[in-house]
Subunit: 256 residues, 2 copies
């Protein structure tokens, strides 16, 4: 493992518009900040940047809520059009209560409101707009990784991050919803520990730790620093995907 | 928020013995590494260092399992003496199955085996020894913080970290089980976001993000780098405790 790790929030990412090339935005901002990418660097990109570039904005006025959405909206006291989008993005409702709608997202992870929110989305005066998660964040991460490799000849890792609430613990933390170029889950079972014992159950959620670390710099509000460069990680060469981090329901003994 | 964050794994922490002064060990290792602490630095210390110094080692041969422990041991296929210790450290069993015992620890958080394990514990030939979590990790963190303040006149934050598995997601990540000198949970509700909207549900699990970041350097096996210095955080002055991060059962709608 590395013994020094440097995280740099990359300033100068402009307001992102549908159709923007995220890799290009990143490279320009890095250039402007005087940062030169190196093999092994990892770029953590807040999902909002990717979602906006991919045009995942939806005007609520254009959404027709289904019967089911109207029902859930009543139970949760939420906007039925927003609920409609949440249901479209989800496999199933995990829990609901007044003000709370926690779902298993179609991407496999469990989160509030299917990751859809209104914050940091510009309102255009035409009505309220919300932002959905990228269609395929692992694919988006891979595209960014590949584009950077093609244009700069460097092999970086890419993590697309979001903030999730959690069972058992209060507070949101950064998690990885898209991964490319690095392992998501680092299976260290079988490695001997200091005293020669075999480690057990030590798959490390390495991409989540990276996303959480980047979360320290990104903030979530007025700072607007949606890109963090992580330098100094010493990861195994294997590549993973964020979906590796989804715990299959059948083996989820942590659920109470 | 900071725009650059540096994490340094502090080498040279010796094998820890019961009765050792953790703050002194840290200061010596920092000295030897040429690192000078500054106000605002945060030291992340793996719980094993603190637990060992506090003499939380138990020889399994000295443990007499209760009826209940024998029962649970049979159901989980675990050593009954280990199960006895796990039960003593827990408020309740959350889930059990063959090879799995997940409990609500007396400190409030939910984890496998109450944080007790055998890895990285020296075996003295007299029998197997296991290591329990510190009695009061928040208190331990505060004591380290205060001692460093007294001896060096610097105001640092201290996080005592452990690795936890999680519901919904595979892979362990570093979490904070003891906190001093910094907030554990950063309540940012009510702050305006970029576009003037009010953020909702944005308590940030800042101490957990710090512990996860440090986990990237600590590794869990042969590396043996149980202390990480985090420099460059720009946190609000308020102080919290790791127990702030425990989600009360009544409001834990994330649980499936």
């Amino acid at each position: 493992m590395a013994i020094e790790l440097k995280l740099t929030a990359v300033a100068g990412i402009p307001a992102v518009r549908p159709g923007d090339d995220v890799a290009e935005l990143l490279l320009s901002a890095l250039d402007a900040a005087g940062l030169v990418l190196d093999d092994g660097d990892v770029l953590v990109v807040a999902q909002k940047v990717v979602s906006k570039a991919e045009g995942r904005l939806v005007e609520l006025a254009t959404v027709e809520p289904s019967e089911r959405a109207l029902q859930v909206a009543q139970e949760t006291d939420k906007d039925a059009r927003l609920v409609e989008l949440i249901l479209q993005e989800s496999e199933e409702i995990s829990r609901m209560a007044r003000g709370v709608l926690i779902v298993r997202h179609r991407l496999g992870f469990t989160s509030a409101n299917a990751g859809i929110d209104r914050s940091n989305v510009e309102q255009d005066g035409q009505g309220e707009t919300v932002l959905l998660l990228p269609l395929d964040p692992d694919g988006s991460a891979e595209q960014i990784r590949r584009t950077i490799d093609e244009r700069k000849g460097v092999r970086v890792g890419v993590v697309i991050s979001d903030s999730h609430g959690r069972p058992f613990r209060l507070g949101t933390i950064g998690v990885a919803i898209g991964v490319a170029g690095i392992p998501a889950l680092w299976d260290r079972r079988g490695e001997a520990d200091l005293h020669g014992y075999l480690l057990q159950h030590t798959d490390v959620g390495i991409a989540d730790e990276i996303a959480a670390a980047a979360g320290l710099l990104m903030g979530q509000g007025a700072e607007g620093l949606p890109v963090v460069l992580v330098r100094g990680l010493d990861l195994p060469g294997m590549e993973g995907r964020a979906t590796d981090l989804v715990r299959p329901k059948e083996i989820d003994l942590y659920r109470g």
